[in-house]
Amino acid sequence: MTTASVTAGTSRADAPPPDEPRIVPVRHWGRWIAALVALLAVGGLIGSLARNANLHWDIVGDYLFEGLIFDGLATTLWLTAAAMALGLVLGTLLAVLRLSHNPVLYGLSTLFVWVFRGTPLLVQIIFWGYAAALYKKVLIGIPFTHITFISGDTNSLLTPSVAALLALGLNEAAYASEIVRAGIQSVDAGQTEAAHSLGMRPALTMRRIVLPQAMRVIIPPMGNETINMLKMTALVSVIAAHDLMSNIQDVYAQNYQVIPMLVVASIWYLSLVSLLSLPQAWLERRYGRGQSAGGTSPLARLFSAGVLPRKAANAQAGPSKTVKDPA
């Protein structure tokens, strides 16, 4: 019976009966012309870049896998990871404080976000880099007592790497707190009530019920933040934190090959950003569980846009059609 219906379906698709009019899809000529023009323009630009002698592809090749560049890459990567971790933990804490009923904690959290979001990151980085000019010594302890936990010379504690990490991490915390707050507030109040009515305490409710659901809203923007962070680490070159950009600048300060070295930097930043997009897609799928089916792949969009031939789409629609009419 199944085979019979399938053959009936296919034969119908191949040669429609004479009494049934054939469906002619709209031809999108405008799309084809626009695509052609765009491809020509981009192709021309790439061609001229490839043939430009000032780009010195040989120098790009020489430095692409240079040891100094790899050292910088390593610094950029751990700085990105550590700053994001600091930002996310501190940001979540700030978000919870901002949603608390304690007016002092709410006020402090708001003040933090106001200061760190309201001043340029570059200014903050230089501030941390020159912190020794503000405080000669660092002393962390309990105020008005003689108890101290950390004390020492500012310059020896706040190395360029630590200063870079603090600047990036604290700045990120301000942005992350707003993202986390929006995520927490996006979860229906009924979820908290249901958890409370089961006897769950506020902290457990937050950890097990609210935050996992908030993640669905938090992850896409945090993915963007991570990608941004990777690129913003280039700013810490102003305090010579030995990240990728610092080392690139060191090289072209000596050999004056500014453009080829910037191409090396761009190639690495682009590759890393591309790699970072993969875990983001995976996390979005994971925390999207229990929601609607996931989004369509870029390839599927090409088909549906009508740029690629419609045959593929017909092939998908075919079998389901035969199932519908088994007669």
């Binding site: 229906d188 009924g190 979820q191 009530e193 249901a194 958890a195 409370h196 009515s197 089961l198 006897g199 769950m200 305490r201 506020p202 457990l204 097990r208 019920i209 996992p212 659901q213 925390y287 569980r289 229990g290 929601q291 609607s292």
Partner: protein, 268 residues
């Protein structure tokens, strides 16, 4: 209003012990007075149905019973213990969040909009609180949860997420989730109001079987048929007060008050 002991369809003789006792309970939302002095007693093992037009305060009163809303006046006790307060030296001391949480463990609540946890499967929804709150053995909890899901007719949907279930199925999972904490009292806040008409029956069947097992239940509902058939007490509320209370036969078929009659003529 006090109810006398009586035999239940389940056959058990209920004691006169009051599960819920409200005396002059008042509640305001800002300037708006939602509850204007509610007096109500629900005896252990009884089913009490709260009826009335929307805005009459029935849901608010129900939410006061497990302290989702704080009362502004009067006395409200569950099993003799004041809800949300501790009595000491003739004063009522407000409880801490975790003490309130402790109280809520013995009170199950079912919501109009189900409020299942969408990121967990049906089974995980049921096991979450016994494992995380009561800290019981996972294996044993799972076994009991499967029995509960079987009882509400959803054992085959145990590994589905709420979004993959119909409204009626979600509500039955929500009932199983509340029962997993072995509550002494079950609160139902319009459990069938958000359901398609053909799905209402399954949920009411589950509630009916719970009542037959002798569970103490307070049900806010518009299902007059259910109230007439299952309830031991029907309470008609309007404008923040109890207008009329008594056996469903009296309240629903021979209402004494004009407001009750007007309401019933609209819904029947």
């Amino acid at each position: 209003m006090t109810t006398t002991p009586q035999t239940r369809p389940g056959g058990t003789l209920t004691t006169a012990e009051a599960m819920v006792r409200a005396e002059g309970v008042r509640k305001n939302f800002g300037r708006l007075e939602v509850l204007k002095g509610i007096d109500l007693t629900v005896t252990s093992g009884q089913v009490c149905c709260l009826l009335g037009p929307s805005g009459s305060g029935k849901s608010t009163f129900l939410r006061c019973i497990n302290h989702l809303e704080k009362i502004d006046g009067g006395r409200l006790t569950v099993s003799g213990v004041p809800v949300g307060y501790r009595q000491r030296d003739g004063r009522l001391h407000e409880l801490r969040e975790r003490e309130v949480a402790e109280h809520r463990r013995s009170i199950g609540m079912v919501f109009q909009r189900f409020n299942l946890f969408p990121h967990l499967t049906a089974l995980e929804n049921v096991t979450e609180a016994p494992v995380r709150v009561a800290r019981r053995q996972r294996a044993q909890v799972r076994e009991e949860a499967m029995e509960l899901l079987d009882r509400v007719g959803l054992a085959d949907r145990a590994h589905h997420h709420p979004a993959q279930l119909s409204g009626g199925q979600q509500q039955r999972v929500a009932i199983a989730r509340a029962l997993a904490m072995k509550p002494r009292l079950m609160l139902f806040d319009e459990p069938t109001s958000a359901l398609d008409p053909e799905l209402v029956g399954d949920v009411l069947d589950v509630m009916r079987s719970l009542a037959e097992d002798g569970m103490t239940m307070v049900v806010v509902t518009h299902e007059i048929g259910f109230a007439r058939e299952v309830a031991d007490t029907a309470v008609f509320m309007d404008d923040g007060i109890v207008v009329e209370a008594g056996s469903p036969r009296d309240v629903l078929t021979r209402p004494q008050h004009k407001r009750t009659r007007a309401f019933l003529s609209k819904v029947l």
